[in-house]
Symmetry: none
Subunit: 418 residues, 2 copies
């Protein structure tokens, strides 16, 4: 099944916002065999919206739009598409009641008058519930079965509606036993792209077991993605399983997960099974490591807490790092990072302590310790290991890579693959 996507918003055309919605929708829909064959982005001009949607309907008869459903004057999708379908807009009392109740629930006595426009529904259109926002989605269809689904542009609203509303609707409407586009990502970290390519040898040149292979480097590591384009679901899954096994056979040591798995979540599961708790001591990452761990729902049964020891005084007072160590070796040094990890474990009360100290830049580097120098220590029940890396890249890059390296160092210790 093929459809087109029309994304609406001047901010997308002007480059102020990067269109992440389109990528999310493409991935989500490809899982049920729905292929987005074209994406068109237009601004807030109603004529442009009408023209783009009409052309897309002429080609495929099936269109999803995102954006332009808000309460303000630059939100034009609803009236533009109503006019394209020759339908009048009518106030929908149920939608209005829902919007009003939503404002009440969040403590506003009165709904701003401008929000009433979000209750205007084209004649004959179906309202699509939006659990996370005030603007509902809309489904409009003509007598020939050509349809447009209008979704909001706010990412978390759009995502919930896509998975909870659109996917079930399209699955029901276009049930086939046909081919799906499925991919599998094998996530590695701690090894560069070309070293990984060498490790894979002939099995990692262009294809694995005949499936196309892509190398996707990023700050979390290098992801390896294989894709099956033309098999029915069961066959595609079997082919992807085979390709994953082959990739793992070459690079197992560096593989921490698959698909969207996050290293922090993987580590939390490993610790939960082993009844291990984690405490953190961060300097240059400033809380990012704690943030990544606690981004995972349910992290509270493993993560105790941490100290962001930005000033050296805090390293001493809150982590019991000896001021002599700092004076003698500097805050970015092996003795200090070991003391930070051990201090986090002891002071906060956990089996595992993690310490990070480094120079994220842009200032603060020296010839001995250039920007990008980062020490990571892990203390697992008294077994303390420290490593140093020198990262390229900007401040954010250095910090992100440091947090990832710290999580990986614990993963390897805990699984005995260090």
């Amino acid at each position: 099944m093929r459809l087109e996507l029309v994304t609406v918003g001047a901010e997308l055309l002007l480059g102020f916002t990067i269109d992440t919605n389109a990528a999310f929708l493409a991935r989500t829909l490809s899982e049920i065999g729905v292929e987005i064959v074209r994406r068109t982005t237009v601004g807030d001009d109603p004529d442009d919206i009408v023209q783009a949607v009409r052309d897309a309907l002429d080609r495929t008869g099936a269109v999803i739009t995102t954006g332009g459903l808000g309460p303000t004057a630059d939100d034009r999708t609803r009236p533009a598409i109503a006019s394209l379908f020759g339908r009048a807009l009518r106030m929908d009392e149920a939608v209005m009641a829902g919007i009003t109740a939503r404002f009440k629930r969040y403590g506003y006595a009165n709904m701003p008058a401008s929000n009433a426009v979000q209750a205007m529904v084209p004649e004959g259109a179906t309202v699509l519930g939006n659990p996370n926002g005030s603007a509902p989605g809309l489904w409009i269809e003509d007598e020939r079965g050509r349809w447009v689904a209008m979704l909001p542009g706010v990412p978390h609203e759009m995502r919930t509606m896509a998975t909870q509303v659109i996917v079930p609707m399209l699955t029901k409407r276009y049930a086939t036993n046909g081919a799906v586009v499925l991919s599998r990502t094998v996530r590695t970290t701690g090894i560069g792209e070309s070293a990984l390519a060498e490790l894979l040898g002939d099995d990692g040149r262009d294809t694995v077991n005949g499936l196309p292979l892509a190398f996707l480097p990023g700050w979390e590591g290098v992801d390896l993605r294989v894709t099956s384009h033309d098999l029915p679901r069961a066959d595609a899954v079997a082919a992807l399983d085979g390709a994953e096994a082959k990739l793992r056979s070459h690079a197992e040591r560096y593989v921490y997960g698959r698909d969207a798995e996050n290293l922090a979540a993987v580590l939390l599961d490993l610790c939960r099974e082993r009844r291990l708790h984690i405490a953190t001591a961060e300097s240059c990452t400033g809380g990012m490591l704690g943030e990544r761990i606690t981004a995972v729902p349910g992290s509270s049964d493993v993560y105790v807490g941490g100290v962001v020891a930005y000033e050296d005084r805090v390293k001493t007072a809150s982590l019991n790092v000896s001021p002599d160590l700092i004076r003698e070796h500097g805050a970015v040094s092996e003795p200090v990072v070991r003391a930070m990890a051990a201090g986090a474990r002891a002071v906060l009360g956990a089996e595992i302590g993690i310490g990070i100290t480094g120079i994220a830049g842009p200032a603060g580097g020296t010839s001995d310790k250039p920007v990008g120098t980062v020490w990571v220590a892990t203390d697992v029940k008294g077994d303390v290991r420290a490593t140093v890396r020198r990262y390229l890249g900007d401040r954010e890059d250095v910090r992100r890579r440091s947090a990832q390296a710290a999580l990986e160092q614990v993963r390897r210790s805990v699984t005995g693959s260090a």
Copy 2:
């Protein structure tokens, strides 16, 4: 001057790659008064490429494409557009020599045969140099002056060519009286989109001082963006200044910055001027507040550090929060958040303490304290203020909005606008 952008690549349609090229081009070209009025993304099918480019040429007569110029079989842009213009592809010896030399320079004895296709140039087309890659860009133009510029899809290659080749060409070709597209963003937080629209009244409906206005809601707040499309630079700046002043006159209380300014950086500057230091105590945000503050280079002269008090035990041991308070009121409560802020200030040694405790979800909510309930306290030299909010959205959204609200609460205290 208006043009359309056609981006080519299955990976864009499949959602594996987010199209950052389009945003870069839009921003870069708008600076010289060139407006991208539509963006179309198609896969690697030559017919789709031809159709999209032809339609775009019919509308504007000016098209930039990105992607599909590589050496592999799925790179179809060159032959597709050559056929659209009715031109044969010919081997260009100079391009061939350049590609061969490039391979030699990087230590390859022989160029892979597949790269020869990158030396094929449509008759009458102009070769556009690509300093960072082997695939040159191409400029092709018909007898009516309608043109297509083909750029590679690899971001760092495309960016260099856009700034070094395309911008000078278009500036020369479309020399006008110097109209530019410039925008100004006024950043607000702590007020919703529709309430903000009401506050702006007639000055915020569609335009401000005749300049189009866009409302851009996100987790940092609502950005107000005004854009000048058809004035010379000096006049555009004056018009934007006037529009910004008018927006501020209505909403000053909620305005924390402009354009790309980050609330954390704004707050750090305010504290630096006033010689104030910040310490943090985070529960549900798990380090995100510290991470946001320390993401700003130079934050170390204001930010002392923090405690991530995820377990209640850590709130007591590291922040001196009385266990009785937690027992009596719960960890997510006004008394506890006040004690956290005061504890951070006292224990870590700073003029300002910030406390955050809440229920980020998805689990942990009760009827009294549903998911999304977040308390924020700020202690500025002993003046402690606490507020509670109930956020919508998922875990990440709740956490991001909480950190932003905490920064804003300090900003208002420090500037006396609380």
